[in-house]
Symmetry: C2
Amino acid sequence: MQQPVVSCSMPAEEIESVSLPVGWKSYRSPEGRKYYVNTSTKVNGHQLHGASGHVLEHPDVFLRKTSLSNQSPGSTSPARRQNKEKEIKETKITINCVTFPVPTSAPEQQLLKPSEWSYCDYFWADKRDPQGATVSGFEVLLQKQLKGKQMQKEMAEFIRERIKIEEEYAKNLSKLSMFPMAAQEEGTLGEAWAQLKKSLADEAEVHLKFSSKLQSEVEKPLLTFRGDNFKKDMKKYDHHIADLRKQLVSRYAAVEKARKALADRQKDLEVKTQQLEIKLSNKTEEDIKKARRKSTQAGDDLMRCVDLYNQAQSKWFEEMVTTSLELERLEVERLETIQQLLRQYTTLRHETDMFNQSTMEPVDQLLQSVDPAKDRELWVKEHKTGDLRPVDMDI
Amino acid sequence: MQQPVVSCSMPAEEIESVSLPVGWKSYRSPEGRKYYVNTSTKVNGHQLHGASGHVLEHPDVFLRKTSLSNQSPGSTSPARRQNKEKEIKETKITINCVTFPVPTSAPEQQLLKPSEWSYCDYFWADKRDPQGATVSGFEVLLQKQLKGKQMQKEMAEFIRERIKIEEEYAKNLSKLSMFPMAAQEEGTLGEAWAQLKKSLADEAEVHLKFSSKLQSEVEKPLLTFRGDNFKKDMKKYDHHIADLRKQLVSRYAAVEKARKALADRQKDLEVKTQQLEIKLSNKTEEDIKKARRKSTQAGDDLMRCVDLYNQAQSKWFEEMVTTSLELERLEVERLETIQQLLRQYTTLRHETDMFNQSTMEPVDQLLQSVDPAKDRELWVKEHKTGDLRPVDMDI
């Protein structure tokens, strides 16, 4: 994995930055990464790099307060260092291998995207789930996206059930419209009645059309607008971020190991120095120089480990911001897509009611035309038996 | 049964009537019955009455052509009478005991209710049904009314089936609206989705209301607007008219019997007269007078029987007109009632579609208010893990 270590011989653009501790400067690397450099410290020819940067969609400036000692840890006496470290340690805290400022000491930490309640601002810490297991903030974001996919699936099921109800209704109306009740009614009333019965078949058509459009314009899109790739993508993000956390964990372990080794070396040096002073042993100056050399080396090792740790944390930080913003975008897209599809649902419902109303028009017209006199004429013409009236019999 | 015999000593109003044969006058009796009187014929002190009248809702004048001999049948010689009868018999014909003019001899018979295709004009004759049985015109009219009752029953069944379909639909929508699909969706999208689900329960309400009104405002009236009394009334009419036809049949039988008796008497007289002239037997003038007297009596009997027959036919005629007009009125009423009830059906359908549309309004509103930013804020506030960003570790 590429380490964002930048040696000071690389071309870099120095940028103005307020509130940096004395001796520190901020630069932007050619890739656009911001980082901070302590120009006054030189240890073994290497610059100390407390570099951290991130790639944001828009050029927010973020301020980080750091409090780093500006001297090699190995070159001062443990006693003096201890005092300073006490001051230093109180401003930061490492939880689950992630290093945070102690809240009271970082009042100026502004949100990356103020007023937006952005995912990239609120999910840095881990939390405990109800079972007591540790869950990263990123996990919470990921679970939301997976739940969103579940939601759209359930919405599609709901629509499917509606479709089935509509098809059942249409089938029943259609069947009834063909029943022969009062089929023998004739004339204008017979016509109106026949049309009324037919209107049920028309209504059935309307509801079938509704269910068909529900299927193609609402249900299907709900099912498919996040394809199967979605879950794969989520898995990819999950693993990637998890891997970066794992790296952080191993680098933190290295730091702790180096810190212990340094402490051991410093203890050894102190003991040997004391012994020399009270001429307790036959240790020579040579021995002390060796001990001091080992101590300094241990100090260098520690600095290197801390540096590697900070690099790993920066990398994780960058990916967190990038990925959480992507998840945020996906969530906006999900809401907007669902909104649009549900609007389509209500549009189809409106349409359906209007089409349904129109099935009544021909019935209304024929009912208006019902004419008892006309029907009597029709019927009498067909069924009359004789129009000659009886007359008296003759004798 | 009251016989419409009016003696000429009763007060009667003579009314003008065109096209009556010579010697006939038309009168209106106090009850309002029109009848015709032959003022020139006196037989045994009784007027001949070829009276027929009817009660019509409005004062139509109807013309009846009669051709009656204006002499007692018993007083002329059989030979002369036979010639005249031959002429007379060709103008009338008795079918199933009902006497009609022979069509070619009654060109002026105008309809009682011209241009109306009224029942009272077209159902005088009997007909044969497909099985060959004789069916009276009145029967045909009655059957139509009974069939109409069957029609309204079948229409009510149709509506009942529609009601069941609506209730099923409503039940399904109601159930679905309570399914927990995507119940975990939160924020503005969650609200819109919840309202969409609820709208199914609202739609169910609309359809339940529809089915309920269908039941009370269409189905029930269709079932009950002709009560059970209707069938009883129809039976009453049926029996009443049938009884009058039966009377006619028996009176016709009497006429035929009297006619035969007269023929026998006349034959006897003729034979006796011939015998006197050729002095064939020792019959005296006394015997001939007796034979003549019997002949005259037989003639009187015949006239009485014909008169009774004509009264019976008039009665039947009146009742036919009255009752067929009532059936006609009932049929108009049936059509108008059904028209109104079916219009109520279409009104309810219109209403239902409108109410159904309105269930979408709150859904549309909430969908409009879907706000990804707001939802993110809500969710982040609830689920954030920490907003302190990591910082570099110090040495």
